[in-house]
Amino acid sequence: MENKLTFQLNNISMTFPGVKALNNVSFSAKQGEVLGLVGVNGAGKSTMMNILGGLLQPDKGSEIIINGEKVKIKNPRVAEDLGIAFIQQEVAAFETMNVYENVLASDFEKWRKKGSLFLNKKAMKVEVAKHLAALDCHIDVEAPTHSLTVGEKQMVQIARALSQGGQILLFDEPTASLSEHETQKLFEIINNLRSQGYIIFYISHYLDEIFKMCDSVVVLRDGQKTGEVPISEINKEKLVDMMIGHFIETAERKVARDKDDVILRVENITGVKYPKNISFDLHKGEILGVWGLLGSGRSELFNTLLGFDKMVEGKILLNQDGELEEIIQKNLYKHVGYLTEGRHYNGVFLDMTIAENITSSDLERFASKGIGILNNKKEKEESRKYMKQVNVKAVDENMIVSELSGGNQQKVIISKWMLKDPDILFMDEPTKGVDVGAKAEIQNLIFDRSEKGVSFVVVSSELEEIMNLCDRIIVIAEGKLVGEVNRDDFSTEALMAGIVK
């Protein structure tokens, strides 16, 4: 990098109708710095990123200064020209195009052959291969993008940012959907970029990553900056304290279960690809963990069991009135709740109100017999009750869900399943993309419910979380059941043993 790169934000404010999303936030970054940006959901991180990316315009008086020059980021194109590049949370790619076309997607014009309508594909491929090699990433430039893993797609995105001459890179939750191995790879790349003098903004809910990767950290809370400190001068407790103002204790799991009371028995369940021949018992009030690496067939187990994927073979028995009886999946679903991994994909109705979302799990309850006239008043009352129980932060139950932060959307989904009050609740990554405060609250809710006799089956990629949460963990690898660990024997080694074998 030839010139010395500096970046400064002065008094950034952003006002939405009725809300001040950012209030006079100032901070700066210098060449070769990885700056962590942390805060709970709704603290203003996304707003900040959107301002830098040119998607939002800050209030008057806000100043963005790059290399000593005051700039105005009117739109994403301007951001690009200024060397600001955004590596998004949900990896966006043109699925049907090749890798090299994706990397150079935003400046095809440059690669047009002189006086011709055609692109100079050869030169493009060479260029892209160069960028990918710089990232130590060996993807075939001609591979169709849909064949890549999530991690590889992210590499493509990074390559794209670099090819556009990006100097200031914004990473928004980059590891959220990466496997362990891919995460390590990403860290290497970020370290590499740091040494080359890029400025990197790193947003993550995983505080461990912040401590591992960042040089300093800026903390936001309710749109205000509550701290800007070098990472070496701070510890986790202090950081959480800055983020939420107080520290939320996660309850310890204390109750030992009565082992005889089996509520669900699964025998030899087999899907088209995964799962393969899995059997397990679930007891009343138990929290059962399902652990496995990404792609080990965890979600497929849920989907097959609950009837969303085809079940090739297997038997499901449910305890009804004290006796285990075989049950078909359609009827089983009446007794369970299913919190899925993809919040926006199949968790919420984004454009509907909180109340309409919450009651969707058991709407029949609010409908009259016969033609099914809905009782809106009762619907809203009940929704309010659950919003309060689960602590959903919103103006009222008529708010549109898309206006809520990710953590609150997750809480809406949890409220929804609590309203149904099922015997068994299946949860796939219940705290994914949720901040520390909400995370602790959700864990406490799970404990509380299980003490009231609800059984849980939980998938989580976070070892720490799953060990804290569960009474028992079954381990899955390549769709097969490879181990079972009781709470007393929980350890990383015990859980990994089955997988590595």
Binding site: L55, F308, K334, N346, M352, S360, L363, L374, S402
Partner: protein, 323 residues
């Protein structure tokens, strides 16, 4: 309160107000340009003309809200009418009983066409536009074959006497009202919105989405049949050409002008029917002030694009506002 003000002007209200404004403006234009427009006869005639389009717009509203599309409406209307009229005129003497039976057959036929559409789309996961486009051709073909070269005989005038314009206006008020209530106030209606907003989430929430989709196409078919009942009264017989393919443009534009989203999840029967009133009114205005047919389609097309532009712009604008 700023919040309240946003609510009043946000969402559907602004569209509703705009539409009512446009209707008033249209009536004003009519009353100034046409001598003696504001007579009881003229107004009731206009309303009776609105009915078939309004019924079909009602049906397509359900379909559009689930994120689907049904362009077979007018063709289904014609085919069901031809089937029913063929039945009614197959007796030596057509009595009242035959007429009543004929109407029931008409409705059932419409429902069956809808059922076929729905099965193909919900169960076989075929693309709605392709399915209903094929159905449009099939239904038109069927109506042509059944109607025969010389056309069907006329039915007794008792039919037209019963479905006079006052009955039609009563139906025009009653049927959309009921269907609007079903959409907004009942369990089934809510499920329609759920499916339109996010079909995957609806499925995970335990809703049988296939059945909801199937149901909306049946409703769409039956409402096309209702339009058929009214149209049969007007011409006292039925023929394939009564459901000209360009009619679907009026039906879809009625719904779209009424603010029904073609992306699914949004809209109301009430607004679609007001849209129907507007589109039929515009047709009339241009007819009465002597605009050529060529320009009529041009203008109507522009209106649709304009209306869709407004709704897309609102989506774009509200997404810009989002945190």
């Amino acid at each position: 309160m700023a919040q309240d003000r946003i609510k009043l002007f946000g969402q559907s209200n602004i569209q509703l107000l705009g539409m009512l404004g446009a209707i008033v403006a249209m009536l004003l234009v009519l009353s100034f340009t046409v001598d003696n427009f504001m007579t009881w006869t003229n107004i009731t005639n206009l309303l009776a003309q609105v009915a078939p389009i309004a019924f079909m717009a009602t049906g397509i509203t359900f379909v559009l809200i689930t994120g689907g599309m049904d362009i077979s409406g007018p063709a289904v209307m014609a085919a069901s009418s031809v089937i029913a009229v063929a039945f009614m005129t197959s007796f030596e003497v057509t009595t009242g009983v035959h007429l009543v039976l004929g109407c029931i057959i008409l409705l059932i036929a419409g429902g069956l066409f809808g059922l076929i559409n729905g099965l193909a789309i919900a169960k076989l996961k075929m693309v709605p536009l392709v399915v209903t486009l094929s159905m449009m051709t099939v239904a038109t073909g069927l109506a042509t074959v059944l109607g025969g070269a010389r056309g069907l005989p006329t039915i007794p005038s008792t039919y037209a006497h019963f479905f006079n314009k006052y009955t039609v206006i009563a139906l025009l008020i009653f049927i959309p009202l009921v269907l609007d209530f079903i959409l907004v106030g009942t369990l089934f209606g809510r499920k329609v919105y759920y499916v339109g907003n996010n079909e995957e989430t609806a499925r995970i929430s335990g809703i049988n989405t296939d059945n909801v989709v199937l149901m909306v196409y049946i409703i769409c078919g039956v409402s096309a049949a209702l339009a058929g009942i009214v149209n049969v009264a007007i011409i006292s017989t039925a023929r394939a050409t009564m459901g000209s393919q360009s009619q679907i443009l009026d039906v879809v534009s009625a719904a779209v002008i009424g603010g029904v989203s073609v992306h699914g999840g949004k809209g109301r029967v009430r607004d679609a029917c007001l849209g129907a009133f507007l589109i039929v009114g515009v047709n009339n205005v241009m007819n009465m002030i002597g605009v050529s047919d060529y320009y009529t389609t041009l203008i109507k097309g522009s209106i649709i694009i304009f209306a869709m532009g407004i709704s897309s712009f609102r989506i774009y604008y509200s997404s810009r506002k989002r945190v």
